[in-house]
């Protein structure tokens, strides 16, 4: 019994996390940079890069809520991205929404539809695990692509659909998209943060580590996975809607694009899969680089090569991602400091004895 009391009286162990002041400081700086970015760089070419970065920011954050936390790598989230796009294009013409601010009202509708579609899809794909899951999600994306090609009456087939764009002046055209995108991205990040802190989020991480064990501890794994799947689909629906509005057209091969999921996973892996801010960091850096390449080299093929090579490099050199690498560094820093304190205590045993 005596051992227990000494154990409980021990001071709580030091935190290995990077201190709050540093974390929140960096976050505030990052936020401010994002807010003033399009005002400083008001060149439309640069702010276009910014809009795409915001779209990817919300998409990858959404993707990470499911794939990062549960460890189920979904490579078919383009399905929800595409649903968001087609919903926007189809509803804009069906409801005859005039181009302008009103189109933004389609964002919640797209989010709802993507989330709704995620329920039956999730019920099917979440019955399997590991490779079969990954492969099934890819197959599912091809199914949706085929539907987009074949249901010509609704989707226009390979001709695609147009989303007419508002008659705004070129110099400010990007701004509404950028700020709405930033707003949605922040909602996604805050959601991701809340989930990571919640009991629900902890259950998702438990599923990632050992799903059967999690189940034997009373976690309803099926419902947890499905909930995360639907939440993540909702943000991809929002991203799809933004993308369709901004680009002005949707095509089967670009809406349901296997490369899109590769992009998402590269961003998440580069930044740190399953961390809250890692994927965001990856999204900002990689989507920025992507748009830059696209503008500089024009062709999509160069870009495929760059992506492939970059991804192989990241997987080889930084399999954990940037953010975990930083926190590992910090952790070993704390451990070293602790060791020094411990050593000095050992040198002066009289002092240590005086505490008891």
């Amino acid at each position: 019994m005596s051992t227990d009391t000494t154990i409980s009286q021990r001071p709580t162990p030091p935190s290995y996390e990077v201190p709050k002041a540093i974390r929140y400081g960096a976050l505030t700086v990052g936020f401010l940079v994002l807010v003033i970015f399009p005002l400083v760089f008001n060149n439309p070419t640069i702010s276009t890069i910014g809009v795409f970065a915001m779209i990817f920011l919300m998409a990858v954050t959404g993707w990470n809520i499911f794939s990062g936390y549960t460890g189920y790598i979904a490579l078919g989230h383009a399905v929800f991205f595409g649903i968001g796009q087609y919903a926007t294009a189809m509803l804009a013409s069906y409801w005859q929404i005039p181009p302008g601010w009103e189109t933004f009202l389609l964002i919640p509708v797209s989010m709802f539809l993507a989330g709704l579609a995620a329920i039956p899809i999730g019920l099917i794909v979440l019955r399997v695990r590991k490779h079969t899951f990954i492969v099934l999600t890819i197959a599912l994306m091809f199914i949706f692509q085929l539907f987009a090609y074949n249901l010509r009456g609704w989707t226009g087939g390979s001709q695609g659909l147009e989303v007419s764009q508002p008659p705004w002046d070129g110099s400010i055209f990007n701004l509404p998209y950028y700020y709405v995108g930033l707003f949605l991205a922040i909602i996604a990040i805050v959601t991701s943060f809340m989930i990571r802190r919640s009991k629900f989020g902890l259950s998702l991480l438990a599923i990632r580590d050992d799903e059967d064990r999690a189940r034997s501890l009373g976690i309803n794994t099926r419902n947890s996975k499905l909930t995360a799947f639907v939440i993540s689909a909702i943000f991809l629906g929002a991203a799809g809607c933004m993308y369709a509005m901004f680009v002005g057209s949707v095509y089967p091969q670009f809406s349901f694009d296997p490369a899109f999921d590769l992009e998402l996973s590269i961003m998440a892996f580069a930044g740190g899969l399953g961390t809250i801010l890692g994927p965001s960091l990856g999204a900002l850096i990689i989507s920025g680089a992507q748009q830059y390449f696209l503008i500089t080299f024009g062709g999509a093929n160069v870009f495929l090569i760059v992506y492939g090579a970059l991804f192989i490099l990241i997987l080889r050199l930084l399999p954990g991602g940037v953010v975990p690498a930083i926190s590992d560094k910090w952790r070993s820093h704390v451990v070293r400091k602790e060791q020094r304190i411990l050593d000095s205590e050992l040198e002066g045993p009289a002092e240590a004895g005086a505490h008891k």
């Binding site: 051992t3 154990i7 709580t12 989930i195 009991k199 902890l202 059967d212 064990r213 009373g218």
Partner: protein, 249 residues
């Protein structure tokens, strides 16, 4: 009073009969030992009792209620906790997070609240204290030693305050000092009213700690009784040695 009972359980894998008409009752408030030679169906019985396997026929009852077809999460929520022969913890989460996982919450709203609620936190720290892992609470669980992982598994099941704990070979691979510690914890918890069912090959450990020992042989119950009686029963010896002899031949 019988807390957890199985009645006429049959379970076949292909041509192998893992459990044949197995009937057993575990008394409330006791530390029950479950012994038997390798392949006598102990782990299969655990799997059947905790919802991991559905028996081909027979019934599992907990407090008189039929739980035969419940899923593992339902069984756990009902108050039956279990450890595995090969320890299963969540290696990439920290020790304290591991302990929080088993804390039960009902409803979506409660699920969305922070995982480290003060009341759960107190309980989690208490159970970590109980097994002596508090100072490691912020380490990733995967970095603990094998014996410490066993203690951690024990701690996180305790958090859910189960009525019964099923331990599958808790002594396997644990050093004698740690084992003594674990034995002490089991006895202490038992005093607070937790029933134990322990599968174990370490006879000294079983005989030292259990109030009641059941022996399994070839998929069914051979006999049941106080440790000292079981220890001296010739049928038990034969079950252990007899099968060995036939295997040799």
């Amino acid at each position: 009073m019988t807390l957890l009972g199985v009645e006429g359980i049959v379970k076949n894998y292909g041509g192998i009969q893992a459990l044949r008409n197995c009937t057993m009752n575990f008394q409330e408030g006791a530390i029950n030992g479950l012994i038997g030679p390798n392949g006598s169906g102990k782990t299969t019985l655990f799997n059947v009792m905790t919802g991991y396997e559905t028996p081909d026929s027979g019934k599992v009852t907990f407090r008189g209620k039929d739980i035969t077809n419940s899923t593992p999460d339902e069984v756990f929520a009902a108050g039956i906790g279990r450890t595995f022969q090969l320890t299963r913890i969540f290696p990439r989460l920290t020790v304290i997070e591991n302990v929080h996982i088993a804390a039960q919450r009902k409803g979506l709203v409660a699920q969305m609240r922070q995982w480290s609620q003060p009341d759960e936190r107190a309980r989690a720290l208490e159970s970590l204290d109980f097994v002596g892992l508090t100072k490691l609470s912020r380490e990733p669980a995967g970095s603990l030693s094998y014996g410490q992982q066993k203690l951690l598994e024990f701690a996180f099941i305790m958090v859910a305050e189960p009525k019964v704990m099923l331990l599958d070979e808790p002594a396997g691979g644990v050093n004698p000092t740690l084992l003594k510690h674990l034995g002490g914890r089991i006895k202490e918890l038992n005093k607070t009213g937790v029933t134990f069912i322990i599968v174990e090959h370490d006879m000294e450990f079983v005989m030292g700690i259990c109030d009641q020992v059941s022996v399994m042989h070839q998929g069914s119950a051979l006999l049941e009784g106080k440790p000292e009686i079981v220890r001296n029963d010739p049928a038990v010896l034969e079950a252990y040695l007899g099968t060995d002899m036939t295997e040799v031949n």
